[in-house]
């Protein structure tokens, strides 16, 4: 038997504010499409059920069109069951339309669905059951037990928390979690494991890396495989441009260091040390590399090399200025670099770009 464990779809979510408007709009569309593709995948590969461990929507009051989309997908894949556990972001995502036989929901008490020897249970946590849910969970040790929960792993109980130690020894073979957007897994106890499947698509540069769902294959044993399924991957990486004097050279250096994939989104941090009065190259490097991928954002994190020793014996206003800035205790290193660059250019009569 095959199952899909997915979570944190966040339909209707707004994308990272650092994406340009058209990129954000496209990503929003791709997010919906990936969910649809997952449903198609489930239908095409004989998956019995898709376990949705919370945050299908992004809001307690999701838009009607997002809800209509979700339920339309469910309705149009009648051969696949969708077990929908609401999370902290989609309390208001309940379904009020005509009954869908393949949509199974959960409540704030334990609800179970049986598929042969596989029992899938879940509970939607709130303030009133956050602590008691552990004691009310009773599972048959002879069944293959899968539990859905949405929350952050913690050592204590509480709303939107999952206390692992209280779930140990309860005959759980697989704890399907949602809430954390990065896929991760671990041992629960001798019998079972837990896993966060992560979100289906990264929504910003704070969600880099591969995204997808967990495919569970249940035979004599339960095996879990992470299936990367996102339309695009978000990659954040550093590129050392030490010694590069202009944006073109910096762009070449970035190209050498980063293996671009045209489908993906990149955040490239320019690091290393460049000449002190080098203009910020981030904007130009971003332009040069814009065709290498779907979207790129370049940030200048370089250090400006200033040989303070050269100014120690500089008997001039410039030298005095440099020494005064370096000795300042109320400025950060970056601020000092900028003040020095600005001041020295001003003294030289040059334009200074901050």
């Amino acid at each position: 038997m095959k199952l899909i464990h997915a979570a944190d779809i966040h339909l209707g979510s707004k994308m990272d504010s650092r994406f340009p408007a058209e990129i954000a709009a496209k990503r929003k569309e791709e997010l919906r499409n990936t969910f649809l593709r997952m449903a198609d995948y489930a239908a095409a590969n004989g998956v019995a059920a898709v376990l949705l461990a919370g945050d299908v929507f992004d809001s307690d009051m999701p838009f009607k069109k997002d809800k209509d989309f979700f339920y339309s997908v469910v309705k149009n894949h009648p051969a696949v069951d969708f077990l929908y556990l609401r999370g902290n972001h989609d309390c208001g995502g309940g379904y009020e339309g005509e009954p869908l036989p393949n949509l199974k929901t959960f409540a704030n008490t334990w609800t179970f669905y049986t598929y042969g020897k596989v029992v899938i249970g879940g509970i939607e946590t709130d303030g009133e059951n956050a602590s008691s849910l552990y004691s009310t969970l009773a599972l048959d040790k002879d069944a293959c037990n899968i539990v859905l929960l949405h929350g952050q792993i913690a050592d204590n109980t509480g709303k939107d928390k999952v206390c692992l130690k209280k779930l140990r020894g309860r005959n759980i073979d697989y704890l399907a979690l949602g809430h954390v957007h990065k896929p991760q897994a671990g041992r629960l106890d001798e019998r079972g494991e837990y896993a966060y499947c992560g979100c289906l698509e990264g929504r910003g540069f704070d969600e880099p890396g591969p995204h997808g769902f967990m495919l569970l294959e249940i035979g004599d044993t339960l095996t879990r495989t992470f299936v990367p399924f996102a339309e695009r991957e978000i990659v954040e990486t550093d590129a050392d441009i030490t010694g590069k004097a202009d944006a073109y050279a910096a762009g070449v250096a970035v190209r050498r260091e980063v293996a671009f994939d045209r489908r993906n989104l990149y955040r490239v941090n320019l690091v290393g040390e460049v000449a002190f009065d080098t203009e910020s190259m981030a904007a130009d490097v971003q332009k040069y590399l814009s065709n290498e991928c779907f979207y790129i954002s370049v940030k200048d994190r370089t250090r400006r090399a200033l040989d303070i020793a050269a100014y120690e014996k500089d008997v001039s206003l410039k030298g005095e200025f440099v020494r005064a800035v370096y000795a300042a205790g109320d400025c950060t290193e970056e601020e000092k670099q900028q003040i020095l660059r600005c001041g020295l250019r001003a003294l030289r009569g040059e334009e200074f770009d901050l």
Partner: protein, 854 residues
């Protein structure tokens, strides 16, 4: 630190030059162009090295002082530093400092304690500062009393003369700062971005409000959907009930139709108290009735009419002796043909026309045909003429010849051919009435034959005529002969000329022609006789045959005007007779058959009518009615059965058990209400969609706000950096002043105190390095000082700088003729000053004039 000596291998135009220096003041008097400036640059290069010279760099010292003549570019300098003697040996590459060599000796031993740049290690200042302090030339001593201390100090220290100083820098910073924040006008990028952020927040608040209003709309939408569902169910129920009602109506209609069918069946059956005859029998009876009618109609129609009978009687009369056999008819036909042929031949013979020649002959000789004697006489005359003529010919001059008589044409063959052609013609004519094509063929053959025969005959005859010709000569004997001949010719002429012949062509010719014609005429006459005989024979035969034909035809009363018609008529009569005979036989048979059929039909009909008690009168129509009724009854019965089954099936299929009570629901009103609800729901859905779109814009606005806040933070950061930069620059300026200006000022004042004796004035310098002097208790501007006095002030300033900029080791001082503007008195005073200074400082003084030597 003290210079001890230096050796210049090759540096600029100085080559292989050694100089020794002593403590205190060293004066060097060299003419212009010696290289004093070069020497100064040499010292700088020794202590600090030289920058590389590249194609794009300015014309720097390396390029400037590279010796044209080649050789080792460099030298050494020996100096005393911290009690030890050091020697710096340097060679320079003409372009790159990486190829320069440097060796520092301490007390003659190479050492590494003084790292390059050696000058910085010794003096604690960089090359530029060194250059600007150690060397004083005539052009660098001017002080401008209007420069601020920063300009003075910074320009001096920076080595620049342009306006790249603190004031300019702070002005630029202020300009940049104002772009971010204008203090008085509340404008600038920060202000603008803040306003933009506020505007975005307002718009976001609006979007949020719209979003917050959505749940209520969702609830209303759900309420609409519930109500619509309820009403839809009600409509469906009403529709279903209406369907049931309609079904009952349909069932009632079916029942009514069943009753109507039963009524119709009863009506039909009522018309036949003894039962309606079966269709098959009725059809059969109808067939008999139709047959009876047909037979009656046929009986009315006579195959063998009265006219036929009369005609048949007449023909039977005609052929009472028997119908002639076909052989007889054929014989008659042949006879007719033969008669016609004979007649045609006779006609042809009779119609034969003379040719022109024959006509001419007849014309000539019809009146009096030449006798045999006439011809013999003429022949004799011709013989004598010939003899005469021959004699005449034989006479010396003239000859006479006579043409041989032509041969007679074969007349008999032509005649036979003509007869055969005529026979063919006649036969063709006769056959035309019997066999058209054969008749035409024979006619054609006959005509062709006749034409060919005539052509050939005429052709041979014309060819048989010979042309006679004669020639005469005249001689006396000939004349007699000629006369004799002429007499004979006259004789001949007398015979022939009455017949129209002329002697134009000669007597012999005429005689020959005459004789020929006579023969022809004789032949013509013979022909006439033969023709007459043949004609008579043919006519006789034709008459005999005709007689036979008349007898034959007469026996059958055939009296047409010609035999062919009679034969045709006879054949027609025979054919008619036989046809009439056949028709009569057929007519008799038909009548018999007709009677039988009528009897049968009548009998069958009678039986049918008796069986079913149906009146015989108008039976045909009655039978149609019976048939129609029978079929109608069968159809109705069948239809009734089907209707009953259909009705039962319908009722069962539609489950018509209980008839709905009450009135039918007003579906139109219900649907109207439903449509109104649907419209309202659709409007609400549209509103929700619009609201969601607007609310979704809030996400984009949130992003814009985040970007705006980032920009604002960035602007604030930049503003902070700019402000701090300005502050640090001012701080640096203050510290610089604190560090250098005060001590420099104090040093300057101490030096200027010395100068009071030299200048005779009390010199003061304020915090901004504005030089003033006191005169008469009043401070005056340094502009009142002479050039020489100002140059001395500049010297004091430099000395003050040296005092403060060189922490430990004071450098030497190189004065490159700086006092060119001093008069002799002041120069003396400067000498005294320098002598004083030289007690504590090594001074190398260059001048190009002995008057200014120290």
């Amino acid at each position: 630190m003290k210079l001890l000596s230096c050796y210049i291998e090759n540096f600029g135009k100085i080559r292989g030059e050694s100089l020794t220096f002593r403590d205190g003041l060293t004066s060097v008097c060299e003419k212009n162009g010696y290289g004093k400036t070069t020497l100064a640059a040499f010292f700088k290069a020794m202590f600090y090295g030289m920058d590389s010279s590249f194609a794009r760099t300015k014309f720097n010292d390396r390029a400037h002082y590279c010796p044209f003549g080649g050789g080792v570019f460099g030298g050494n300098v020996v100096f005393l530093y911290r009690g030890k003697t050091y020697k710096i040996e340097r060679t320079f590459d003409k372009a790159s400092e990486t190829k320069d060599t440097l060796t520092v000796y301490r007390d003659g031993v190479p050492c590494t304690e003084l790292a390059d740049p050696v000058g910085e290690a010794i003096f604690g200042i960089d090359k530029a500062s060194f250059e600007r302090t150690v060397f004083i030339t005539a052009g660098e001593v001017a002080l401008s009393s209007t420069d601020s201390i920063n300009t003075k100090l910074n320009n001096f220290l920076e080595g620049s003369d342009d306006d790249t100083n603190l004031r300019a820098a702070t002005e630029r910073l202020d300009k940049q700062i104002k772009t971010y924040k204008k203090q008085k006008l509340s404008a600038g990028l920060i202000q603008d971005e803040t306003a933009r952020g506020n505007e975005l927040k307002e718009r976001i608040a609006n979007c949020t409000a719209i979003r917050n209003g959505l749940p209520a709309k969702y609830e209303r939408l759900r309420a609409y959907e519930r109500e619509i569902k309820e009403r839809t169910d009600a409509v469906t129920a009403a529709q279903n009930e209406n369907v049931v009602r309609a079904n009952w109506e349909h069932y009632d209609k079916q029942r009514a139709e069943i009753a109507e069918s039963e009524r119709r069946i009863a009506a039909i059956q009522a018309a036949y108290p003894f039962g309606i005859p079966p269709e098959e029998e009725t059809e059969q009876a109808a067939a008999y009735a139709a047959a009876l009618e047909r037979e009656r109609a046929l009986a009315q129609k006579k195959i063998f009419t009265e006219e036929d009978a009369a005609k048949y009687a007449a023909l039977r009369e005609k052929f009472s002796a028997g119908v002639p056999a076909e052989e007889a008819l054929t014989d008659a036909q042949e006879a007719i043909g033969r008669v016609q042929a004979l007649r045609a031949e006779a006609a042809a013979l009779r119609a034969r026309q003379d040719t022109e020649k024959d006509a001419a002959l007849r014309h000539r000789f019809s009146a009096h045909a030449p006798t045999e004697q006439d011809r013999a006489k003429l022949e004799e005359a011709c013989r004598r003429y010939k003899i005469t003529d021959s004699a005449y010919e034989q006479a010396p001059d003239y000859l006479t010849a006579a043409a041989p008589a032509p041969a007679a044409p074969p007349k008999k063959a032509a005649l036979i051919a003509a007869v055969i052609a005529a026979v063919l013609l006649v036969a063709g004519v006769a056959l035309l009435f019997v066999q058209l094509i054969a008749g035409i063929v024979l006619l054609a053959l006959g005509a062709v034959g006749l034409l060919a025969d005539g052509f050939l005959y005429l052709n041979k005859k014309s060819g048989s005529r010979a042309q006679a010709g004669a020639m005469q000569t005249e001689n006396p004997e000939k004349a007699a002969i000629r006369a004799e001949r002429e007499r004979i010719a006259s004789e001949i002429g007398a015979q022939v000329m009455p017949y129209g012949y002329s002697l134009q062509n000669g007597a012999l010719y005429a005689a020959a022609a005459f004789l020929e014609d006579c023969k022809e005429y004789a032949g013509l006459q013979k022909k006439d006789e033969e023709r007459a005989a043949t004609l008579a024979q043919k006519e006789e035969r034709a008459a005999a045959m005709q007689k036979k034909l008349d007898a034959f035809f007469g026996g059958y009363g055939a009296y047409a005007d010609n035999d062919i018609r009679r034969l045709m008529q006879l054949r027609t009569d025979i054919s008619d007779f036989r046809a009439l005979q056949k028709r009569r036989e057929d007519s008799d048979a038909a009548e018999r058959s007709n009677r039988d059929a009528m009897e049968r039909a009548r009998g069958a009909l009678l039986a049918y009518c008796r069986t079913y008690h149906i009146a015989e009168e108008g039976i045909a129509q009655r039978l149609k009615t019976v048939l129609a009724d029978g079929r109608a009854l069968a159809d109705e019965t069948k239809a009734l059965q089907k209707k009953k089954v259909d009705a039962a099936t319908f009722r069962e299929s539609k489950h018509l058990t209980d008839r709905p009570a009450g009135e039918a629901a007003d579906l139109a009103e219900m649907n109207g209400m439903l449509n109104r609800l649907q419209d309202e729901k659709n409007r609400l859905s549209q509103q929700i969609a619009e609201d969601e779109r607007d609310a979704e814009r809030g996400d984009a606005l949130q992003n814009e706000l985040a970007e705006s806040e980032e920009r604002l933070a960035e602007y604030k950061r930049r503003y902070s950096v700019l402000v701090k930069t300005k502050e640090f620059l001012e701080l640096a300026d203050f510290r610089l002043k604190e560090k250098y200006v005060r001590p420099i000022r104090e040093s300057f004042l101490s030096y200027s105190a010395l100068l009071e004796r030299a200048l005779g004035e009390t010199i003061v310098i304020d915090a901004n390095f504005n030089v003033r002097f006191e005169h008469g208790g009043i401070e005056r501007s340094e502009e009142h000082l002479s050039a020489g006095q100002r140059s001395i002030c500049a010297l004091c300033f430099r000395l003050a700088l040296i005092d403060n900029m060189y922490a430990e080791e004071k450098p030497f001082l190189i004065l490159d003729d700086p006092f060119v503007n001093l008069d002799g008195e002041h120069l003396q005073k400067v000498k005294a000053l320098l002598a004083e200074l030289a007690k504590n400082m090594q001074i190398v003084y260059f001048s190009c004039h002995e008057s200014r030597m120290m």
